[in-house]
């Protein structure tokens, strides 16, 4: 009989935060690609995700996966109004850096670099942490707000809004920062607790 939980004693694990691509291995068995029901395929939203163990694992609760994914896509990719893509990815990367999700941080740090061209600034966020000076007040304010919003008990406050406004953000832009940062509290907890990252290409054994 198959064990329900899988662990990986010999996994090639990352040693720090990185912008390099990482893999991710699940601790619970994903739904096998050939066993996906129509409802589960529909919940994946993007057909390419049938190849990804993370999404096939979440397909065990298809309604929740579908709603999660459509929330994610609108917060990050709907560019009508609001703040730019780079700042949304920055909020995701800063939240992941603060919560300690090395996998999420790698994906969204790389996206922030791609959207902004500011690889060195993003690398400083990963290397030095969320107090690093990223070179302009807008980015520093977005990171500080993301960090404040991630803390439990909830402590994000008027001073965080004031700093975002002082950096020039209007309400629609602030709502995007709140949405992007809040979403990564959701994503970080799933990626951190249902599996773990691996450095691709030098896995030892399984």
């Amino acid at each position: 009989m198959t064990e329900i939980v899988t662990s990986y004693p010999e996994l090639a694990r990352p040693e720090e935060f990185t912008q390099q691509g990482l893999g991710w291995v699940p601790w619970l068995l994903p739904v096998a690609e050939e066993d996906l029901t129509d409802l589960q395929r529909d919940a994946l939203i993007e057909p390419a995700r049938t190849k990804m163990p993370y999404f096939r694992l979440l397909a065990r609760d298809p309604e929740a996966l579908r709603a999660r994914t459509l929330t994610d896509l609108d917060i990050f990719y709907n560019v009508s109004g609001g703040i730019g893509r780079a700042e949304r990815e920055l909020a995701a990367a800063a939240t992941s850096r603060h919560n300690g999700c090395v996998f999420c941080a790698s994906v969204h740090a790389a996206s922030a670099t791609r959207e902004s061209g500011r690889e060195a600034d993003i690398q400083r966020l990963l290397d030095e942490g969320t107090d690093a000076d990223l070179g302009d007040e807008t980015w520093n304010a977005v990171v500080a707000a993301s960090v404040a919003l991630a803390d439990t008990p909830l402590a994000f406050g008027a001073a965080d809004i004031a700093r975002l406004r002082a950096a020039g953000l209007d309400d629609a832009e602030i709502v995007d920062v709140i949405g992007g940062a809040a979403f990564f509290n959701w994503a970080n907890r799933l990626m951190l607790s249902l599996g773990e990252p691996e450095v691709p290409g030098r896995r030892v054994t399984r």
Binding site: I4, V5, T6, S7, Y8, P14, E15, E16, F17, L28, L29, L57, L58, R60, D61, A64, L65, R66, A67, R68, L70, T71, L73, D74, I75, N78, S80, G82, N99, G100, C101, V102, G129, L149, A150, D151, T152, P153, L154, F156, G157, A158, D160, A162, R165, D171, A172, I174, V175, I178, A181, A182, N185, W186, A187, N188, R189, L190, L192, S193
Partner: protein, 219 residues
């Protein structure tokens, strides 16, 4: 009870249909609608299966109280009160003892160990475990891990859920529930703070009167 028709994030944020922030939220209509659908999928599912509503509401109230968000405590307390009133005081007491400050926790990554931070690693004591039952007791220990120190999650934590009778499907739903709530509460809280900042410097993010009014209107 029937599923609440109100948008739960608006309700928790204290945002009415005519408020300027309602129009701002409409710019991300798909996100708004699917945050609501996430609530429905995880907290008002048409087929809860082997993860009953009482367990979902108990976990939700626990998460709300750990976050210190009055409006959410009142809302999820009402839901639990309808489904399993005998658990309300147990959850409240557990949340008081389990109060911590996060995120904290030890890093597994060798070059990040200097950033590891200590805090309260809580699991139910014998009396609480008895009152919650084996399944919910394991779920609460896992919820505390996810809320405060997700970086310490390991495969062994999932094994503890399996040992307490949780299926793989229900572990995914439980994980989604807790993780979703950490999103929902932050969006609602952030919008509440933003609305208060727009209304003027004297406004307070979360007053007890505003909270109970919002919950009464929406329940």
């Amino acid at each position: 009870m029937s599923a609440p028709a109100a948008d739960i994030i608006d309700l928790l944020a204290g945002i009415g249909p005519a408020d300027p922030l309602a129009a701002v939220r409409d710019q991300r209509a798909q996100a708004r609608a699917n945050a609501q659908r996430s609530f429905e999928a995880l907290l008002e599912p048409t087929a809860p299966g082997t993860f009953p509503l009482a367990e979902r509401y108990a976990v939700a109230l626990f998460v709300a109280r750990l976050h210190g968000f009055d409006a959410a405590e009142a809302f999820y307390g009402d839901l639990l009160g309808d489904e399993a009133p005998e658990l309300e005081a147990v959850v409240a007491d557990a949340a008081t003892v389990a109060a911590a400050t996060g995120p904290f926790g030890g890093y597994r990554e060798p070059n990040l160990r200097g950033e590891s931070a200590e805090g309260l690693r809580w699991s139910p004591d014998t009396a609480t475990a008895q009152a919650l039952g084996e399944r919910l007791s394991a779920a609460f220990a896992h919820t505390h891990l996810l809320v405060f120190r997700p970086r310490e999650a390991r495969a062994e934590a999932l094994q503890a859920l399996v040992d307490a009778g949780w299926s793989a499907d229900d572990i995914v739903s439980l994980s989604q529930l807790v993780a979703f709530l950490t999103f929902e509460l932050r969006v609602a809280w952030g919008l509440r703070v933003l609305a208060a900042a727009s209304a003027g410097a004297t406004a307070v993010a979360s007053t007890p009167a505003a909270v109970s009014a919002a919950v009464t209107e929406g329940a």
